[in-house]
Symmetry: C2
Subunit: 329 residues, 2 copies
């Protein structure tokens, strides 16, 4: 059984998002806990800035929860997930490094919830983030190169988000179940078309989730994918229709929500930070405001590396889904 | 509390190790499940070979357990942990990517045990691996460059190991508790001296583990560190003496166990595969033979990336420890 049901329904007791300048010019600007317009965040390099976004998000979430956590689960896109690891030098707590590419926010929440559900610890933090400049440099070309972006490309979100989970029943927002992703590869090799690489994995996870939980897309107030972008979203809608679970108007992609079309982001936002700042702002705020009662949050990842692309490999995808809902008991 | 106590004591019901040629010439040769002397494992690139070591270890462990697992937890040293992710294309099971650098074998076992302990799933697999040629290429220089190795360097183990954990009480080898690592950085910047980078993290984890569990080094049949090598082992012994927990003759380092001195490996073995093949062979075999009843298995990792080194950063370390012991009920 690939869907896990959390017996204790770990509660979300705090969250925080910190986003960059471009994100602050998009539709979600009011929902971020903090905006940092300096792409260097006062640091010498973009890599150090990414790290500072992480530290800011984790510390902000801990402060909003008001409880000292036992373990932090975090990951990012940089090689050897150094943004998370170096951020944890400053945080000083036990740390589990998670990697699910852009699905990391969902994957870290699933792991953070599992430790709480097992009764092994009381409080955990899940975090993920990304930075436009570091991702371009590592996966494509440094910004100074001035490369032209193909129309299928997506814009890596600069920002980080963190969620605090707890065994204490002090919040009515609970994590109730999760479907862990399988690696799915449809043979796509275009490094500038991540949406197409990830959509098949998203469809695989959604189908298993609906089957295992005996639910339909309409049973959720909203279903979010992480960063499929326009092409990926359309592909997912097609695939889900074929599978007998057509997605309706309650389905959104964080990559499409985060920017306006006129911001020149091609197919939309991407990166671990995309779903991380959308969850830890827009989505969780709506629970607090009573607008959402049950949400399926699914983040998707493309499991490539520059080396695998250079060696002619196709790009496998993965998608991790977690149900966040209002719980009463 | 940074040490977690597993209530259900998840059982180790299967394991498998596959190691390369150099490893097959070392003292542990008889303990590997399989030896592959071709460094390409019949593939076109070393990266594809590393992946095949992974698939072989995971499939071998599943076969030895005789049970289909629910989730696989795996990680490796290559950028974007592509060896694990691409291997999971072939395995087809739900997959959680874990990154703890060379501490990944311990970290993946801790996560695999937690999911079983929580009662969320019945059977999980933990896996880790590495390859000498891919690690040299990524972290240092490609082998064709013919770089001279400094005397403090270590030799990345070619091999992979996998462990199957279960809620079924069909084995008497249980995972009883674990201490999750914190990121510790003593400011060392020498990319050719991993032992010195990791020893402070190892000491931090060991001290917390002994304090939290109210045990002493002598309470274990054996204590293993992952790949500190000669310098790191000496540093750890010094640090633990200072902390009031001197390590005795029951302490071993997998990096020192795996090769003979005359194999020209400088300070010893390293890489995720080092502790992975030692655990899933030598150590677990000794449980089966009744020689070990309680072991503290601690794998250590250096959380660097080539980019952080180029940017002048120091190298943070982490160490994750897990207790494996004979359980009766």
């Amino acid at each position: 059984m690939s869907t896990i049901i959390f017996k204790q329904k770990p509660r979300i007791i705090g969250w925080y998002s910190v986003a960059g300048k471009k994100e602050s010019q998009g539709p979600l600007r009011e929902t971020f806990s903090r905006i940092v317009t300096d792409e260097y965040f006062g640091e010498k390099t973009h890599e150090m800035a990414e790290r500072k976004f992480f530290v800011t998000a984790i510390q902000g979430a801990i402060q909003s929860a008001g409880v000292q956590p036992d373990i932090v689960f975090a990951g990012d896109l940089l090689n050897q997930i150094v943004s998370s690891s170096f951020a944890m030098r400053d945080i000083g707590l036990p740390y589990v490094g998670i990697y699910g590419a852009c699905s990391t926010m969902a994957l870290s929440i699933i792991n953070a919830a599992t430790y709480v559900d097992a009764g092994l610890v009381q409080t955990t933090v899940a975090a993920a983030g990304s930075h436009f400049a570091t991702a371009e440099r590592q996966y494509r070309t440094p910004l100074e190169f001035g490369n032209q972006r193909p129309p299928t490309s997506q814009w890596t979100v600069t920002g980080a988000g963190a969620t605090v989970l707890s065994s204490a029943k002090t919040s009515s927002i609970g994590v109730t179940c999760a479907t862990i992703g399988r690696v799915v590869d449809y043979g796509i090799k275009d490094v500038n078309n991540m949406g197409a690489c990830m959509a098949p994995a998203a469809a695989d996870t959604l189908e298993r989730h609906f089957k295992n939980t005996n639910t339909q897309p309409g049973d959720y107030d909203a279903i979010f994918s992480g960063d499929l972008g326009q092409i990926g979203e359309e592909a997912l809608r097609d695939l889900m229709k074929e599978k007998g679970y057509p997605l309706g108007e309650n389905y959104y992609d964080c990559g499409k929500l985060i920017y306006y079309g006129e911001q020149k982001v091609d197919m939309g936002g991407s990166g671990c930070g995309c779903s991380a700042v959308t969850l830890n702002g827009f989505i969780l705020d709506k629970f607090q405001q009573g607008e959402y009662h049950k949400v399926l949050f699914m983040a998707t990842g493309a499991l490539l590396s520059p080396t695998t692309c250079f060696q002619g490999e196709s790009i496998p995808g993965i998608a991790n889904a977690v149900v966040i809902e209002e719980v009463t008991e």
